[in-house]
Amino acid sequence: MSSVFEPEVVEVMDFSKADRSTETQLSAEEKREIDAEFSHYEDKASVGLEALRIVQKHRGWISDQSLQAVSDYLDIPSAQLEGVATFFQLIFRQPVGKEVILFCKSASCWIMGCARLQARIEQKLQIAPGQTSGDGIFTLLETPCLGDCDKAPVMMVGEEMHRNLTEQSIDEIIDNKKRRHADESTD
């Protein structure tokens, strides 16, 4: 009897290339997207996390300047917003690579041998969890269960899910990404 859940191909978001990470003002587009969230909540302060997510989507990470710009715009103390920013693991308070690897090492993935695969990534990219590779392409993060345990071991790279991982498929995924980014930089 087969499972009803078979994986699908997912569209991937394209990150903007220009580095705006330390701009002290929010762009018109960032403001427009944050404004759209206001009507969903009782007060402006409640939009804090959504606003950080929006700004991070445009800038790649949340610098001190970005944090200040959001706190000014929402009219909440920056210390309060910092408390939120540092609590959530998908808000990045330091620069990350173009591809963030969310590596699942929850129970099911561990049983299926994810420790060996994590060692493979660390050795291949010469980084430990929380670090970014020297070429600035990959950041490795450990994540709570990604909810695909029947296809363990799994990881996410950017917004793509990769399932039933092996050492060979990890090599392929990383090499493909490297090639793609090398092509882009020579365009």
Partner: protein, 424 residues
């Protein structure tokens, strides 16, 4: 008779991802039926049907709704929240429902919101579920377009908006009061209870928080009735449930089966049994924060009370299987590392107790443990138990440790006496 209400639209063809497909399959008839009736009657119906919360706690859903103050004297603003922050280790059911049948969740939430007289609802979804987020966003827009959500729904005078809130990681957000803090734009630390959210929840207003799968039970329950719903269960509990199996079985996966389906049937028939050369040593019946059970428990039915009486919890109903070639100490260490990392740090037994437990488990696994470490672990587990913490994270983390110490005691002792992990 319909026997798979949760997954009837889910198959290789993805027949009901858009509104047209969902409607063609009979969708939103439960919503129309609900709108024609009295909200109070809906609460009673769900309560009588015996639907129990599918997020893990198993509380009667209708009873939870009934705690919300009603009538003219009650607060005019009430909220409904869907907990779609699926992160329990080994749990992979809500993702399936949201990606493959998003309108089922929207319809279930609409009925629930009407029943508790809420006019605003939120789906609190984890940030990693991009496909589910996109499909739910589209489903909400389609339903609004057709007048199934929004102002004056189908001319009844009732209005409802459903908003998506994308979170940004952290297991603790699945705890309902921590989730409410996160929705309010705060750090996701749990709140003291009472007051319970049904009385004072989001922004201090009466709020009901239910799990994705719980909501997905509602549309057919309302459409086809209490007797039909009760008849679905094979044991004490009503309805069907998504059960899953992960670990070294032949065919890991998710299946919708009647409540009360025996564990043996789920593991041996649906998941195909253990891989060749492996034996089942134990299993976590409902995700990482439930107590281990052993082969002697395989004939138990997957019912909340039956699993409860055996000393564990049905939790999320997704089984993690431990085989005889995988180190139980290593698995418990892995789980405890996860809970230690995900602790929000709000109360001491969790913030300090879990890292301490990791340290002890690590040295046992490394072969550097002492026999008195077993007693030390048991002591830590007691401190983390119910009543000593704000929320269920630490008591949940204690469950696999305390049960492993009983079920696999010999393995712990062997690690210590041999001075190494015997599974390596």
């Amino acid at each position: 008779m319909l026997t798979n209400p949760l997954t009837k639209n889910i198959g290789p063809q993805n027949t009901a991802i858009d509104l047209a497909g969902y409607r063609a399959a009979g969708g939103y008839s439960g919503w129309r039926k609900a709108l024609a009736g009295d909200p109070g009657d809906l609460v009673k119906m769900v309560q009588d049907a015996g639907l129990r919360g599918r997020g893990g706690a198993g509380f009667n859903t209708g009873l939870k709704w009934s705690f919300v103050p009603r009538g003219d004297d009650s607060p005019s603003i009430k909220y409904l929240v869907c907990n779609a922050d699926e992160m329990e280790p080994g749990t992979f059911k809500d993702r399936l429902l949201m990606e493959r049948d998003p309108h089922l969740l929207i319809e279930g939430m609409a009925i629930a919101a009407y029943a508790i007289e809420a006019r605003t609802a939120y789906i609190f979804i984890r940030g990693e579920y991009h496909t589910a987020t996109a499909r739910l966003e589209k489903a909400i827009a389609e339903a609004r377009e057709e007048g199934l959500l929004g102002e004056n729904i189908l001319g009844t005078g009732y209005s409802l908006e459903i908003h998506l809130h994308c979170s940004a990681g952290n297991y603790i957000c699945g705890e309902e009061t921590a989730l409410l803090n996160a929705l309010e734009g705060k750090r996701a630390v749990p709140r003291a209870k009472p007051p319970f959210p049904q009385v004072s929840g989001l922004w201090g207003k009466p709020t009901v928080v239910n799990n994705v799968e719980t909501f997905c039970n509602i549309p057919h329950l309302i459409d086809l009735g209490v007797d039909w719903y009760k008849s679905l269960g094979r044991g004490e509990d009503a309805g069907t449930k998504l059960f899953g199996v992960s670990g070294k079985v032949k065919n890991p996966g998710t299946w919708e089966l009647p409540m009360g389906t025996p564990i043996r049937e789920i593991i041996e028939v649906h998941a195909g049994g253990m891989r060749d050369g492996l034996k089942l040593k134990g299993f976590l019946p409902g995700g990482g924060s439930t107590d281990f059970l052993g082969p002697e428990h395989l004939d138990l039915p997957m019912d909340y009370d039956a699993i409860g009486k055996s000393g564990s919890r049905m939790g999320t109903g997704t089984i993690i299987v431990l085989d005889d070639k995988t180190c139980p100490v290593g698995l418990v260490l892995n789980l405890t590392q996860f809970f230690a990392r995900e602790s929000c740090g709000w109360c001491t037994p969790c913030r300090d107790g879990l890292p301490w437990a990791v340290k002890i488990l690590q040295r046992i696994e490394n072969g550097e443990g002492r026999l008195e470490d077993i007693g030390l672990l048991q002591e830590q587990v007691r401190y983390m138990g119910p009543g000593n913490t704000f929320c269920a994270l630490a008591p949940g983390a204690a469950e696999p440790i305390q049960s492993a110490l009983k079920l696999f005691e010999q393995d712990f002792v062997e690690h210590i006496e041999k001075g190494c992990c015997p599974y390596l």
